[in-house]
């Protein structure tokens, strides 16, 4: 009973949740804006506070991931997805960059792409790297990201590869239900997330112009610094993770991530959708409650409408928690759909 009450408190914006939120926020403020973590990192033999952060992040994803795998062990989509998230975090987002650095190569994260990682299409940075990195970076953003997005939706990235999504779906599991489900928040999200994408594109274009013309503009440098401060540090880190226990785990992804915005637009024209089983919904609301992106899934399910929402990251938890098996994530291709209602039975004709 006491355990249940404590769990309720920390999962439902109780005192312990506010305390944890303060701790997470303070951690990110100290990490980004002070050097206090540097001596701690050096004391345990790490070269910088960023390596320490990477290690802690990987630990959080792994520990949270093991919890998630146990919780959803009967659901193979969840198990395979979570194992992938942990492996990608431990390799592409942690050990490979360390190894690259060890071998005097650029510290490159193969699991990140522009527009999430601004530098990877910032000409002054990317053109300073060896050729394979340049090719990977450009082809990654220009081809890999959108093509996979068309076939599988944004989930291939947002809930299988991305570190931000990885942390949300593992360490953040206890707070996923806190996302705001109102139509008002949906309206706000559409404005903010696309505004950030617009600013990201604008900044990138300006940086290319500046690089191409060989001119350096002081205002542009200020713009770039401000972008880094507000988007990468404050929104992705301090707010994004700091508010986990109060506003859910995908505040950054939903309201500000330019990558999520871009993939969301691709998703709307692509194949991915959530299929709703006809007339089987009991309107219980578990799907909406546990949607980390704040989608009111129940509104579609009870209206028998299969749907694709730009924000859906395809984590699959709505389908998992549905007690009537109403929802199914799929990469839908229209020709198969028309066949679906006319079941062709190939066996001998009936007598």
């Amino acid at each position: 009973m006491i355990k249940n009450r404590l769990l309720h408190d920390v999962k439902n914006r109780g005192i312990s949740a506010w305390f944890l939120s303060a701790v997470f926020t303070a951690f990110y403020l100290v990490l980004y804006f002070t050097e206090r973590l540097t001596p701690i990192a050096q004391a345990i033999g790490l070269d910088s506070k960023w390596t320490l952060y990477g290690a802690l992040y990987t630990l959080a994803v792994t520990a949270g991931g093991i919890h998630v795998i146990r919780k959803y062990k009967h659901n193979r989509y969840q198990v395979i997805r979570t194992v992938t998230v942990i492996v990608i975090q431990a390799t592409f987002a942690f050990s490979i960059p360390l190894l690259l650095k060890f071998f005097q190569q650029p510290e490159y994260y193969f699991s990140y792409f522009w527009p999430l990682k601004m530098e990877y299409l910032t000409p002054s940075y990317i053109f300073s790297l060896p050729l394979p990195f340049i090719i990977y970076s450009i082809l990654g953003s220009a081809l890999l990201v959108p093509i996979l997005g068309v076939f599988f939706g944004k989930r291939w990235y947002c809930s299988w590869v991305c570190g931000c999504g990885g942390l949300a779906n593992t360490f953040g599991e206890p707070w996923r239900h806190l996302s705001d489900k109102s139509t008002t928040s949906w309206k706000i999200e559409k404005v903010t997330v696309h505004a950030v994408l617009g600013i990201t594109i604008l900044l990138t274009v300006l940086l290319f112009i500046s690089y191409g013309t060989g001119n350096t503009y002081r205002q542009l440098a200020n713009f770039q610094t401000l972008y880094g401060l507000i988007v990468s540090s404050i929104l992705a880190g301090v707010v994004g993770v700091g508010l986990y226990p109060l506003g859910g785990t995908r505040i950054w992804c939903r309201f500000a991530c330019p990558m999520a915005a871009l993939l969301g637009l691709v998703q709307k024209i692509g194949r991915y959708r959530i299929k709703v089983k006809e007339n089987m919904c009991i309107s219980c609301g578990l799907c909406s409650k546990y949607c980390e992106m704040g989608i009111d899934v129940r509104a579609y399910a009870q209206a028998n409408k299969s749907f694709t929402r730009a924000s859906c990251v395809g984590c699959g938890i709505c389908a998992e928690v549905c007690p009537r098996g109403v929802l199914k994530l799929e990469n839908f291709s229209p020709p198969a759909a028309t066949k679906a209602k006319l079941v062709q039975i190939k066996t001998a004709p009936r007598g």
Binding site: R76, T183, C284, S288, G325, V343, I345, K346, T347
Partner: protein
């Protein structure tokens, strides 16, 4: 035009929205004694288990009632006359067209001593029942739940979740013989036992005792065994909520035509409380939603000739999902995936498949419906069963044919 609907369950609310979609100008009022806003009754158990808050039980945003201009009136209707209903014995509400969607109430047993119990005996079908359960749970160490149907197992799951030791008393010789064959009943029984539930088959309560304060203390069963408990869940079924209704013809439920018309002009009935011409009462979520929509269409003047479609339903017993379509038959094919709580049963008769009972995996019931309507053979259905699967990606269960 003033439409009044009594009951804001799924039949009533579906009717209200259907009326509004078709008639943008009419006055529409919906009366409920239970709650200010429509709630999902099927989700009461998830609120009890702390997976949902009370507010999460509301399937529509509150502002949508204002947006759709649906007036909500709180209170119990006590009297029904031509053109007027009376609320709480005093307030008169005029109607042009009325829909009765009063739903169901729990069946109360006549166990010896039950009348002396003042607290501790609960049902589990309304918001008020949920409140009572939540109040009692912290002071309950042991509970008894009686009734081998769906609501019983839901309440058992909730109580178990709260660390309460539960004795689950089922009258029959396996769990839910009304819907399940013995094999499935045993799969579910074993599953419940693994969750710590003490399931007692062939037990029927005969006597209930209360302590000095009136709190339930123990029950005695037909096998003369006593089970101590501080909570007694009575889940032996529901019946149409028609006790207050006078002036329209009732039998078990409110008698309606195939267009949901009652014996009183301008009064319709739909959902759990309605009894169709063949004495059929459909008492599940899906039928209430369907009937609510069609009754509203009848009220709007459409020609409605309702025939209950092929039966289907779904449930979940702890972790085991259940889909059923169609009807039982003289023969059936049964297969259980070895070592798992997954089973397939396909009923057939005279060469044609008549029904499906599937445990532990997900199915698109519309395929099953088509196959039954098309009178497919068992062989054909088995060969194509995989097409109807609805399990998660990577999670497909091998079908018996494979």
């Amino acid at each position: 035009m003033h439409y009044v609907i009594i009951g804001n369950g799924v039949a009533g609310i579906t009717a209200a929205f259907t009326l509004r979609d078709r008639d943008p100008h009419a006055r529409i009022a919906i009366i409920s004694g239970e709650s200010d806003y429509f709630i999902s009754r099927t989700a009461l158990m998830y609120a009890f288990m702390d997976r949902l808050n009370l507010r999460d039980l509301e399937p529509f945003e509150r502002k949508s009632y204002d947006a759709k201009k649906i007036e909500r009136i709180r209170g119990w209707v006590t009297n029904l006359d031509a053109g007027i209903v009376t609320l709480n014995g005093v307030r008169k509400i005029h109607y042009d067209k009325l829909l009765l969607a009063t739903g169901s109430v729990p069946i109360q047993p006549n166990w010896l001593g039950l009348e002396s119990v003042r607290t501790g005996a609960v049902n589990f079908v309304s918001l008020q029942h949920l409140e009572a359960c939540e109040q009692l749970a912290p002071t309950t160490r042991r509970a008894v739940v009686a009734g081998g149907g769906l609501i019983g197992v839901e309440l058992v799951e909730c109580l178990t979740h709260h660390g309460i030791e539960v004795d689950f008393l089922v009258r029959d010789s396996w769990y839910w013989p009304m819907a399940l064959a013995k094999e499935e009943g045993e799969i579910i029984a074993a599953h419940m036992r693994r969750h710590g539930v003490k399931l007692h088959l062939n037990h029927e309560i005969t006597q209930v005792t209360a302590d000095a304060k009136g709190r339930v203390e123990a029950v005695k069963t037909s096998q003369n065994i006593e089970f101590p408990c501080q909570m007694l869940g009575i889940c032996i079924g529901v019946r149409p909520a028609i006790d207050w209704i006078r002036g329209v013809t009732t039998a078990r439920g409110i008698q309606v035509t195939n267009s949901f018309q009652t014996s009183l002009p301008n009064v319709w009935a739909a959902g759990d409380c309605a009894e169709l011409p063949n004495a059929q009462i459909e008492q599940i979520w899906y039928s209430a939603k369907r009937q609510g929509e069609l009754a509203a269409k009848a009220m709007l003047g459409d020609t409605v000739n309702y025939q209950a479609p092929l039966f289907y339903n779904s449930a979940k017993f702890f972790d085991i999902e259940y889909t059923t379509v169609g009807a039982a038959a003289s023969e059936s094919f049964f297969h259980q995936v070895p070592g798992k709580d997954i089973s397939f049963r396909i009923m057939h008769e005279n060469g044609a498949v008549t029904g499906f009972n599937m445990l532990g995996s997900r199915w698109d019931h519309t395929y099953f419906e088509n196959w039954i309507h098309e009178r497919r053979t068992l062989k054909e259905v088995l060969a194509n069963l995989h097409q109807a699967q609805f399990d998660v990606e990577f999670g497909r269960i091998p079908t018996p044919h494979d």
